[in-house]
Amino acid sequence: MQNIIIAGFGGQGVLSLGQFIAYSAMYEGKNVTWLPSYGPEMRGGTANCSVVVSDEPVASPIIAFPDTLIAMNKPSLDKFVDKVKPGGLIIVNSSIIKDKVKRTDVKVCYINANELSLQAGNTKTANIVVLGAFMKQTGLFAKEDVIKSIEKIFAKKPKVIPMNIKAFEIGYEA
């Protein structure tokens, strides 16, 4: 079972990053829940979602202690850093977050998502860069399977598929 919290500013693709993980899980035959924070959120406000991936049917979709935290901005890192399970993983968007994680009992991966997304051709793909880093770090699903999921998710917008696959691969290799 993997419990993942993804948090950042509204507009950073936080909720859709969670959905990419959820779609990949479903296509892999896993059970999954995706639960967003909801409310009067807007671009620039804060947003987060909780994703639970499991071989068994998911009971609680509420995550008290995540295995993985993906922090896209500083307030999100501050809010959830102490909740991550010992031995867990924190992925930090180091384009925006300049601080280092002080905890020594977790694995930390710093990824310069905004700059790397430029290499894919569009800063909108920063969340997909992070998706690549997440899949590499956790090994949750094979690279090829996630690429297949990206193709399925964007089936109605085939033009954006190559850019997103490129962003994913950049994140995966970073």
């Binding site: 959905q19 959820a22 779609y23 479903m26 059970n31 999954v32 829940t33 995706w34 639960l35 967003p36 909801y38 409310g39 009067p40 049917p57 998911v58 009971a59 609680s60 979709p61 509420i62 995550i63 008290a64 202690f65």
Partner: protein, 354 residues
């Protein structure tokens, strides 16, 4: 059953209603159920149905009254303050013995309250809500798949007894995404129109009348007795409950809806710590599964019950009726839109053990 699709609770419920034969929706926007009308505003016209965004909740529920009286499979959805506004109409619909389906994606209250998940509308849902001596069939889904299956079957269930069905969800089940198998599309041309439905036919003593006004006490009493008989039939036939690891349980947690699934995780964590916990999750809130509590309360293993709710304690009153004083019933709740984690439930139970 089709290939699984990842859908938000609100959208999956809306699609399930269409597949179950719903062809009429009237409602008024309110968070956290807006994806239901949003989805249906596009979907219903595709299948020849009617979508109306009414000018108010009062108007919407009376459109449901009208549509149901001509035999349409009619749906409305709202969230707590909106459902309060609909109560007069719901009472009229119950009094006129019309079927329909009502969705309440409960938010925190009272008053305008907040928009986060809550279970503070339990009393309103199962103990009346509107005026007069009536009941609704109240279903409480804990997963998106269960919500889909419930909504799909709810039009048949409502027509069977001529009693409105209320789906009591909360903001969480509305907003969560899960993989679901959608049931097949019902062929609405093969769904028989009820013979009581108004169709402009019949005259004199054969006139069809849909009404909830009974001025003569003896006539109305006869109607009240008839309705009570129907509610007894529903209690006999339709009660549903999920029991999880209750056979050897010493602590029985009980919760409904989304809290039921959080409580299930709590049971698993407690078991991993050597505490024999079990779960009773009412699937139907009316009819309420009193027998499950009677049975557990009579077991020598069971030391106590813990009711967990997103309220200050409402369902606990029905739990106590079922337990009937045989064992202690404790309460753990969060409110205001805060949602407990499985670990919070575990901590509460362990803190009471020592």
């Amino acid at each position: 059953m089709s290939e699984k699709v990842l859908m938000k609770g609100n959208e999956a419920i809306a699609e399930a209603a269409v597949r179950g034969g719903c062809r009429f929706f009237a409602g008024y926007p309110i968070t956290p159920q807006n994806e239901v009308p949003e989805y249906l505003s596009k979907r219903l016209p595709e299948v020849g149905g009617t979508f109306i965004q009414a000018e108010s909740e009062v108007s919407a529920i009376n459109m449901i009254y009208g549509a149901a009286s001509v035999g349409a499979r009619a749906l409305t959805s709202s969230s707590s303050p909106g459902i309060s506004l609909k109560q007069e109409g719901i009472s009229y619909i119950a009094g006129a013995e019309l079927p329909c389906v009502i969705i309440n994606m409960v938010r925190s209250g009272p008053g305008l309250g907040g928009i986060q998940p809550a279970q503070g509308d339990y009393f309103q849902a199962v103990k009346g809500g509107g005026h007069g001596d009536y009941k609704l069939i109240v279903l409480a889904p804990s997963t998106v798949q269960e919500a889909v299956d419930m909504v799909y079957g709810s039009f048949d269930l409502s027509e069977k007894y001529r009693v409105p069905v209320l789906i009591l969800g909360d903001g969480m089940i509305g907003q969560i995404m899960e993989a679901v198998s959608l049931p097949e599309m019902r062929d609405v041309s093969k769904i028989k129109k009820p013979d009581w439905a108004l169709d402009g036919k019949g005259s004199g003593s054969n006139r069809k009348i849909i009404n909830s006004l009974y001025i003569e006490p003896d006539v109305l009493e006869k109607m009240n007795i008839k309705l009570a008989g129907i509610y007894r039939q529903i209690e006999e036939n339709e009660v549903k409950v999920e029991e999880y690891l209750t056979d050897d349980a010493t602590v029985v947690i009980t919760a409904y809806g989304t809290v039921g699934r959080i409580a299930k995780s709590a049971v698993n964590i407690l078991r991993s710590k050597g505490i024999k916990a079990g779960l009773i999750r009412p699937v139907t809130l009316f009819p309420f599964p009193y027998f499950a509590y009677e049975k557990a309360a009579s077991s020598n293993n069971v030391k106590k019950f813990v009711t967990v709710e997103l309220s200050m304690g409402q369902m606990i009153e029905d739990v106590k009726l079922g337990v009937n004083g045989k064992k202690p019933v404790e309460f753990f709740g969060r409110s205001g839109g805060n949602v407990m984690s499985a670990e919070d439930i575990v901590d509460f139970i362990i803190s009471k053990e020592v």
